[in-house]
Point group: C2
Chain length 324, copies 2
């Protein structure tokens, strides 16, 4: 569905700001608490946190993260799920969110309603309140940025730091071909898996794979170390080449380092009982730089998704892309 309308009466601008905000509250339904706890005051008021808090922010932008092929409900859900994936990667669960919307005046009400209903359905499913937001106008833009607050699901928060040479590298699910398979908006964020993994002390460091494994793994790799991956072990989504599995991005799977001294067999068995439908794959190990076994993937040859492209020609720039 195309976000813009040529019919002025069907555009968000025909509503005016006050009515638009009233509509947004209606579209959010039970996902929108009343002020002062929600939309309608200078700030939203949140209850005291139960412990350390997590906070993350991610956008969806027309031409970058979605196009006319993605149903607007799926765009709203994708925005929410991208942020959930970040919480999952630390073993967190969501608590509340605020949404900043930037819209061309010619965006259609219908598109926006569907977007919010998709977001709200996802928020209700995860018992998250959308407590506030902002609406601003910018010509030619359809963009939404969600800030999501969360808390540790258990006692532990897992960061990207902590992997050591010798640790096993695992990844959940399958990688690659996210765009054509529509995985980039159909994915389920690995919240339950992330919480489960954070409860296992053998899991030393974790992150979500969103910009392509080849790029993302750099953040998990210990100093003076190297990720040695067995190319035949990389779990590929249907239609994905090795290059696509390592470079495409938008996988929203979890990658983590597992303590070399811990019992991997018992761990894998427990995983299969807990998540029989989510593949877990040992894809390699962290080794000392220069000590990669023959036949390992040379990750330097693969590039992940770059959020800031080099200058493109105007024709390319207008075309846009749908991958982040």
């Amino acid at each position: 569905m195309h976000p813009f309308t040529r019919i002025p009466a069907q555009a968000v601008s025909a509503l005016g700001e006050e009515k638009l905000i009233a509509e947004i509250r209606r579209w959010l339904g039970r996902a929108s608490p009343r002020a002062p706890f929600g939309i309608g005051d200078d700030c939203a008021v949140l209850p005291p946190s139960r412990g350390r808090q997590l906070i993350t922010v991610d956008p969806v932008i027309y031409g970058q993260h979605f196009d006319d092929e993605v149903p607007p409900r799926a765009v709203g859900a994708k925005l929410f799920k991208r942020n959930l994936s970040d919480l999952a990667a630390m073993g967190g669960r969501p608590t509340a969110g605020v949404l900043a919307l930037t819209l061309d005046a010619g965006v259609s009400r219908k598109w926006l309603e569907e977007f919010y209903r998709g977001l709200a359905a996802c928020a209700r499913k995860h018992r998250v309140m959308i407590v506030g937001g902002d609406v601003a106008q910018s010509d030619g833009v359809v963009a939404a940025s969600l800030t999501l607050l969360g808390e540790a699901a258990g006692e532990r928060v897992v960061t990207r730091q902590g992997a050591r040479v010798g640790d096993r590298i695992y990844v959940t699910g399958r990688l690659g071909n996210s765009l054509r398979s529509r995985h980039h908006f159909r994915f389920s964020p690995r919240l339950a898996e992330g919480a489960w993994l954070a409860a296992h002390l053998g899991v030393r460091a974790m992150m979500d794979v969103s910009d392509g494994l080849a790029k993302d793994l750099r953040a998990l790799t210990p100093r003076a170390g190297l990720a040695a991956l067995d190319p035949s072990s990389i779990p590929r989504r249907a239609g994905a080449t090795l290059k696509s599995a390592l470079s495409d991005g938008e996988d929203y799977e979890l990658a983590f380092a597992f303590d070399r001294r811990a019992d991997a067999g018992a761990f894998e068995q427990k995983w299969r009982r807990a998540f029989p439908r989510t593949p877990l794959t040992l894809i390699g190990r962290f080794v000392c730089a220069g000590k990669a076994p023959a036949g390992s993937v040379d990750l330097a040859q693969f590039h992940g998704y770059e959020h800031l492209d080099a200058f493109r020609k105007p024709a390319d720039r207008r075309r846009g892309r749908v991958l982040s």
Copy 2:
């Protein structure tokens, strides 16, 4: 300063994402804590809150909230101060923020560095950490959205609800002509004043004036009531007409309702001792609808800033505006 460069080597895209994030951390300096408490992981980790929390989000967008005339340091400061003004309006103080950036690949590094340095100076002044963020690309766009967390400065949070018929209406500072006077980026958010006012139980409801008093006061007005303002009492900024003072927006002053039974004289005297340099003006009262004294301002004749315009002609749309 124009945000875009024609020289590829001077553009943010020449840095690439990883280096850009490293640069952003350098530009933020002491306002950016280390991961996992700050930038560099899937989420930032925040300490437990000390009580109820406040949360607000506001953007700055090129062509809407700033143009080439506004120095980039002032743009960064404006983004921060707009959010501080929302916290001030509830008697809050800031704790931490996350920043979502949306940039054309051709934005100049110099512009972005100045923007961040302006933001960081403001964050350090208010002892706020910028703990995380996101960078996304969108052609032709220069936009940043800050989500700011805060807490009540004292025991009380003041909302927009609670004014009653008979209550006095006060406003801090002066209103109008914000654009030409450059007040729209030079203003000081009324944080100390907001905290002071929240500690006075006579202050029943409060908000910040950002879209023009005529529009904003509607949110403070009790049901079946009406704001009866004395036109001669509205404090105007130099060069402001009555219309500009009521409609322009971007005043970032506080408007509040003061209990009709409380001692206004003693209150005003205390204010003058606490804030000798910030004018406080009684501008009217909330009355029963239809009971406005002769000579009152007819607020229905004034419109505040609308965040979503009706369709404009393409020529007008390209021109853009600088007011939100």
